[in-house]
């Protein structure tokens, strides 16, 4: 079964073709247009999606030497995300449908992130816990099957990736800053500069929820208090301390969720799952039960959306696209 996956929910225009759960092509255009604004400008994102979407699709088809009428399904992200950005992908998919009659299914973006694991581990046993950590979301789900998710905890304020990006902005990194912070933290070297320590949030009433805005504020105060020159000079140490606090919070909640649910398999997905320190810390704490897709399938991509479509079609769970920018899983 050939599935075309289309993802335009935020600032990545992404298109992929799958043969069942095997990737034939997976192309992502990351919109560099936003970097100079230090964050995603919705109108700009929508314009850029429209400029790229058809050429990217044509390139994916060309790469695989397939014509569009060989596709059996078009899977497109319809929630959650930026309304104007989602609309470009959904309308494009509907245009393909109107021309070819190929069925179109709407896919929840978070379900897409979770389904990325089936691309690298098609045999992964169910149920498992999925920690989705990205620029827009931080949430833990129990996955009983494709289409059967229960949310165990989520961020009450910022997403983890958002915290990376905001702290990055404070420290002078361009948007998005996650990768740059990870690299800068490596420069801190072991041991040196232990004085920067930031708090790891624990929410007493709902222990599986996350909170990152206090951490962001703590970094802000630290940087203001120590001054510009000091902060520039000690940027690697600040980055490491910040990253350790985020990692500790994510790892603690994973351990608590595993304990509470009795489910020892944990899947880490979303853009922040590219972070090697997070991967290492999770494995140290939770051992072999932890797995993650390769980095290119963690950040927004079309293959994960196509994969969710393919998995849903096997379970007869296809549904027409329905725009829901604020949708949840």
């Amino acid at each position: 079964m050939i599935t075309l996956g289309i993802e335009t929910s935020c600032d990545e225009t992404a298109v992929a073709l799958l043969d069942d759960d095997r990737i034939l092509a997976n192309m992502v255009y990351s919109q560099i247009e936003h970097a100079r604004f230090g964050g995603v400008i919705p109108e700009l994102a929508s314009r850029a999606h429209l400029e790229k979407i058809d050429r990217l699709t044509a390139t994916v088809l060309k790469k695989t030497s397939l014509s569009i009428d060989k596709c059996n399904l078009v899977a497109v992200t319809d929630s959650p995300g930026l309304a104007g950005a989602l609309l470009v992908g959904v309308s494009f998919a509907l245009g393909i449908h109107a021309q070819t009659g190929i069925p179109v299914t709407g896919i929840n973006h978070l379900e897409g992130h979770i389904c990325a694991i089936f691309l690298s581990r098609p045999d992964i046993p169910l149920p498992f816990l999925a920690l989705v950590v990205s620029g827009g979301h931080t949430a833990m789900y129990r996955v009983d099957n494709v289409g059967k998710y229960s949310c165990l905890g989520q961020t009450v304020d910022d997403a983890a990736g958002e915290a990376f990006d905001k702290v990055g902005k404070m420290l002078g990194f361009p948007y998005p800053a996650g990768k740059a912070i990870e690299e800068e933290a490596l420069r801190a070297g072991a041991g040196a500069g232990r004085e920067a320590v930031f708090p790891v949030a624990r929410l007493s009433g709902s222990p599986l929820d996350f909170s990152f805005s206090g951490l962001k504020t703590a970094v802000k105060y630290y940087v203001t208090e120590k001054g510009k020159d000091y902060s520039r000079e000690h940027r690697p140490v600040i980055c490491r301390a910040f990253q350790e606090a985020v990692v500790a919070s994510l790892v603690n909640n994973c351990a608590a969720a595993a304990e509470k649910s009795g489910c020892k398999r944990i899947v880490l997905v979303g853009g922040v799952a590219c972070n090697m320190r997070l991967r290492e810390a999770l494995q140290q704490r939770l051992g072999d039960g932890v797995c993650f897709p390769p980095p290119e399938l963690c950040a927004d991509n079309g293959a994960m959306i196509a994969c969710a479509g393919f998995m849903r079609s096997k379970l007869n769970l296809l549904r027409p696209p329905h725009m829901d920018p604020g949708g949840t899983l």
Binding site: R47, I53, D54, D69, L87, A98, Q99
Partner: protein, 233 residues
């Protein structure tokens, strides 16, 4: 034989129309606020099915290209880009103001088409009626409301579109003028007019584009700070 599909999603009405060569075949319009994306595929399929036309028969698509609702324009263009992905369909972007101007019964007077662009600004253009056809007198323009007001002369016919903006006040000053047509009261078969324009330009190869090169004319750049809500933080 050429089948020409017309599409206009630039304002609150979702409008499609169909021509076979120079001959009008069908038109369909529906008032739909904020749900063009959900209905566009259905509207096009219905238009084609009812007239025994297969999607693959469409050789040309004429689409209202703006100015107008940014989101609406993108829905139309994204749809057309998907629709034309397979083959050699040619695409004609048509000015939304030109389309709108057809809604006014102007006799032999000039027609000014005007769209509320919000923030006290107006998209507008002036057209002259020669015999049955409208010819353009001024380019599509975005300007402050007073500039538009100054551009009007006593004999002009004006057609206005608030794009469903209930609090629109920029056209209030026209209330006592004769020959003013608010499109809300005098709806225009916009998709049909797009298709008609396509039919009249069929042999003019230079007006038509590949779908990949067809883009909306926003007439307002994204970088003007008030256009966007600022970065998502």
């Amino acid at each position: 034989m050429n089948w020409i599909l017309g599409i206009d999603t630039s304002s609150v009405a979702l409008c499609v129309g169909l021509f076979r060569d120079g001959q009008p075949i069908a038109s369909y319009s529906r008032m739909l606020k904020n749900s063009h994306a959900e209905h566009i595929a259905q509207a096009v399929s219905m238009l084609l099915d009812n007239n025994g036309v297969r999607a693959g028969d469409i050789s040309h698509v004429a689409i209202a290209a703006g100015p107008g609702s940014f989101t609406g324009l993108r829905i139309g263009f994204a749809f057309v880009k998907g629709f034309c992905l397979t083959g050699t369909v040619r695409v004609l972007p048509v000015s939304s103001l030109f389309v709108l101007a057809h809604g006014a019964d102007s006799g032999d007077r000039d027609v000014i088409a005007a769209i509320d662009a919000r923030r006290g600004e107006i998209f507008w253009a002036r057209f002259r009626r020669d015999a049955e056809a409208l010819t353009r007198e001024t380019p599509d323009t975005l300007g402050p409301a007073p500039e538009f007001r100054n551009a009007l002369t006593a004999g002009d016919t004006v057609i206005t579109d608030t794009m469903g903006y209930a609090q629109s006040t920029v056209f209030n000053f026209l209330a006592d003028r004769p020959n003013v047509f608010p499109v809300e009261r005098y709806p225009v078969q916009r998709g049909f007019i797009c298709a008609a324009q396509g039919a009249s330009l069929l042999t003019d190869g230079s007006s038509w584009k590949n779908a990949a090169d067809a883009m909306p004319e926003y007439l307002r750049s994204f970088s003007s700070p008030a256009t966007s809500k600022g970065p998502l933080q």
